[in-house]
């Protein structure tokens, strides 16, 4: 029994259809989330690049950020270490798989 049967009026249907089709808010929210995640990744990288074998001058000073970032760091490192997942993530940005 679909939601869109005779009980729902035509106008109601149109309203819902266009409402959902033009829900820019939802779209932009996910874009922003994506952007926020990228920004966090970048921040992680310039803090802890030495974990990936890239020496950085401030590695000593970012150690004291660990108490706040350790949980994220774990996940980040695992993602960064696996090339496949990085490619998937970045391709995913382009909506090519839809």
């Amino acid at each position: 029994m679909s939601r869109y049967d005779e009980k729902i009026g035509f106008f109601q249907f149109m309203k819902e259809f266009f409402g959902a089709a033009t829900d820019f808010n939802r779209k932009s929210k996910s874009m922003l989330d994506k952007e926020a995640m990228d920004q966090m990744d970048n921040f992680m990288l310039i803090c802890f690049a030495d974990n990936l074998g890239i020496p950085i001058p401030t590695s000593y000073y970012t150690l004291e950020l660990l108490p706040y970032l350790a949980e994220d760091l774990e996940k980040w490192q695992r993602r960064m270490m696996s090339r496949k997942s990085i490619w998937q993530e970045k391709w995913g940005d382009w909506d090519l798989d839809v």
């Binding site: 926020a36 001058p57 000073y61 150690l63 108490p67 706040y68 350790a70 949980e71 760091l73």
Partner: protein
């Protein structure tokens, strides 16, 4: 003479002797003096023939000493991080992160940063307790790197702060509650830590390039290599806006030489001293003699006398 004095120069030219003698001289002048050794191979203890530790140790009247121990400082810092980690994260992740911290404690740059931090701490905290702080530094290369750190790290810190701020802003945009509020940024502990670091760096940097507060004195011998190295080092320091205005020529031979070998040596020396005075004509130059005996606790005072007339044209 400024309050903070750094003695630098090529390895083996007698930096420790000069800085010790100068510290003794300044203590005898009635100034409360602190001598700090930043060289990993500490010889300040040997010169004063006593154990000088990581904490301020009284040496004589008006004179205290301290040797910065990089290993101890970095261990202290890292175990501090471990302690605060233990409070917030799960034991499983702790395992992983501890491995990282242990790796960090032996990675290059860690010791350098630890020494640098301690140096800043001394400069910032002890300036009120002493009239004169004398630093006996490691050979040229180390020291110059140490002095270039604030510049290098400052840029890095700026980008860290900018990135963190940006990341927080963006993640704020999607939150329906207190969207983009400044309070949220103010409470971020990470920004707090980074900002504190940055302020410290800037403080240190200000003191370092302020020729009213800090003097950098180069020690050299009247020989080819130390002269060349000093030229290079002074150029590099200039790039970081640190003026060097004083030189010490150490180990000057006595005037009267009877032996042929020493006569030739003396002639060379006169030539080199002339070269130094010519090339560094804009700097004030002090000369210290070569002592017949090793410099130890009992004859530091003799050497200290030579600083009486040195740098008088200030």
């Amino acid at each position: 003479m400024n309050k903070i004095v750094f003695f630098g120069g090529k390895g083996g030219v007698g930096k420790t002797s000069c800085s010790a003698a100068f510290a003794v001289y300044s203590a005898k002048q009635g100034k409360k003096t602190l001598i700090v050794s930043t060289d990993p191979a500490h010889s300040t203890s040997d010169i004063f023939e006593m154990k000088i530790g990581m904490d301020v140790t009284p040496i004589r009247d008006n004179l205290d000493g301290l040797e910065i121990d990089a290993e101890y400082e970095s261990d202290k810092y890292i175990s501090g991080v471990k302690r605060s980690l233990g409070k917030v994260i799960s034991p499983i992740i702790m395992e992983e992160i501890n491995r990282q911290l242990d790796a960090a404690s032996i990675s290059p740059g860690t010791h350098e940063s630890a020494v640098f931090d301690k140096m800043i701490e001394i400069i910032v905290e002890k300036t009120d307790d002493y009239d004169q702080i004398v630093f006996d530094t490691a050979p040229t290369g180390h020291t110059i790197r140490l002095f270039s750190l604030p510049e290098l790290l400052g840029v890095w810190m700026d980008s860290l702060l900018a990135k963190r701020g940006r990341a927080l802003e963006v993640s704020q945009m999607t939150k329906s509650v207190d969207r983009g509020s400044k309070a949220y940024l103010d409470h971020d502990p990470i920004l707090k830590i980074l900002n504190r670091r940055k302020t410290n760096m800037e403080k240190a940097r200000e003191i370092m390039i302020d020729d009213k507060q800090l003097d950098f004195i180069f020690v050299l011998n009247a020989e080819k290599l130390p002269i060349e190295e000093t030229k290079k080092a002074i150029d590099i320091l200039k790039k970081y806006n640190m003026p060097v205005r004083k030189l010490v020529i150490n180990r000057i031979l006595p005037e009267k030489m009877s032996d042929d070998f020493w006569k030739i040596k003396k002639e060379d020396e006169i030539k080199y001293v002339a070269e130094i005075e010519d090339f560094f004509s804009d700097k004030s130059i002090a000369k210290l003699p070569l002592l017949p005996k090793d410099m130890r606790a009992h004859n530091i005072d003799d050497m200290a006398e030579y600083f009486k007339d040195a740098f008088t044209n200030e």
